[in-house]
Symmetry: C2
Subunit: 195 residues, 2 copies
DNA sequence: ACCAGAATCGCACGACCGTACGAGGGTGTC
DNA sequence: GACACCCTCGTACGGTCGTGCGATTCTGGT
């Protein structure tokens, strides 16, 4: 990989970490340059607007999420194992504070009222995630572990709710019972769609 | 009410509206002054730091949420009616974009990784909300509509999840089915705790 | 009508913002 | 060794940020 591309990757990594704390909107070229110990202009040259930087960070976050959560889940056995894998990976990514995966979800609330390229991209990505989760749910139908008349979109929706609720309790309230509750909610959800 | 207090109230109202779009962190004294058509320094004098302004906005958001959601729910009949009232009011406040109520929830994700007075206050308020929701759930036990062995905290947690998931689908994705799904999730939740 | 105090203003400050541009340094190819 | 090209830098611009202060205007009680 060329030197420039390497630097760019490193910058984006740092951007994700910072944005994970202060939000994508709170990202600052100056602060980022400080952290990477390079000049503002040198850093800026890699992106050519702040929005491009934010989009790059968002994309990295999405990739991280896909690598850490979605892909491993999709390579698990169809049906319940796959559903469980999706949930467990997602939970782990939130719990261990892997910045990428978390940012991807966190940015959603930040930009839900700010029209623009970021919001559009975020909406697209989340729609994809919902579709994937629904598909995972349906994979359970084909192996007879999930009710044939299941509402897969509803399941995806509800699963997301469980995760969001976990994020909040775990990160804002630092509630030690957060994980237990998330698991309980997940099991209830699963019980509701099982054959 | 003295003139000054009146102005302050108006400023805080505007602050809540703006923060609802750009986040509490995105609040700006200059922009606020522009919207209220007064000088930056004149506006600033009412608070004496930006953080105080943010805290004031957060408090107003909390009050709005309590007025619009919590109090009406608590004055409904114990048991299922009260639980339903809590859910419906909450849903309505999110759906109609009442800035106060929404901001209160939205700010939670914004500051979950930024230590400080805002985060602390937010955590306290959310804990209170959880406690209230749990209490509302328990009110159903006393009238025999909710299972005696219900985990009220879990219920509160799950209810929050349903709301968060609704926020996302409604605001980011503009999904027309969001409300229907939220209602379905709520009914499933309720069915799980009924006697 | 007057006066005290509250409310608001104008102006200034240093810091940082995002962005632009040209100069210089490094590296790889002929 | 010369050349081209990619990175990175310094410097600069106009703007906005949060905050402080003294001067001015407004308001309410006497």
């Amino acid at each position: 990989m060329a030197k420039g591309a390497q630097t760019r990757e490193a910058i984006v990594d740092t951007a994700v970490e910072v944005a994970f704390r202060v939000g994508l909107g709170g990202l600052t070229i100056g602060e980022l340059a400080r952290q990477r110990q390079m000049s503002k202009s040198g850093l800026f040259a890699h992106f050519r607007s702040k929005e491009a930087l934010q989009l790059a960070a968002l994309e990295r976050a999405r990739e991280t999420f896909v690598d850490l959560v979605v892909r491993p889940a999709l390579s698990a056995q169809r049906g319940e194992p796959r559903i469980r894998e999706l949930f467990e990976r997602w939970l782990a990514c939130a719990r261990d504070g892997s910045p990428g995966g978390c940012l991807f979800v966190k940015a959603a609330t930040e930009f839900d009222s700010q029209p623009g390229a970021l919001r559009d991209r975020l909406a697209q990505d989340h729609q994809d995630l919902f579709d994937t989760a629904a598909q995972v749910c349906r994979s359970g139908v084909s192996v007879g572990q999930v009710r044939r008349d299941v509402d897969a979109e509803q399941f995806a929706h509800d699963l997301y709710g469980v995760m969001l609720s976990f994020y909040l309790a775990y990160r804002l309230l630092a509630d030690p019972a957060a994980e237990t509750r998330a698991r309980a909610a997940f099991e209830a959800l699963l019980a509701g769609v099982r054959t």
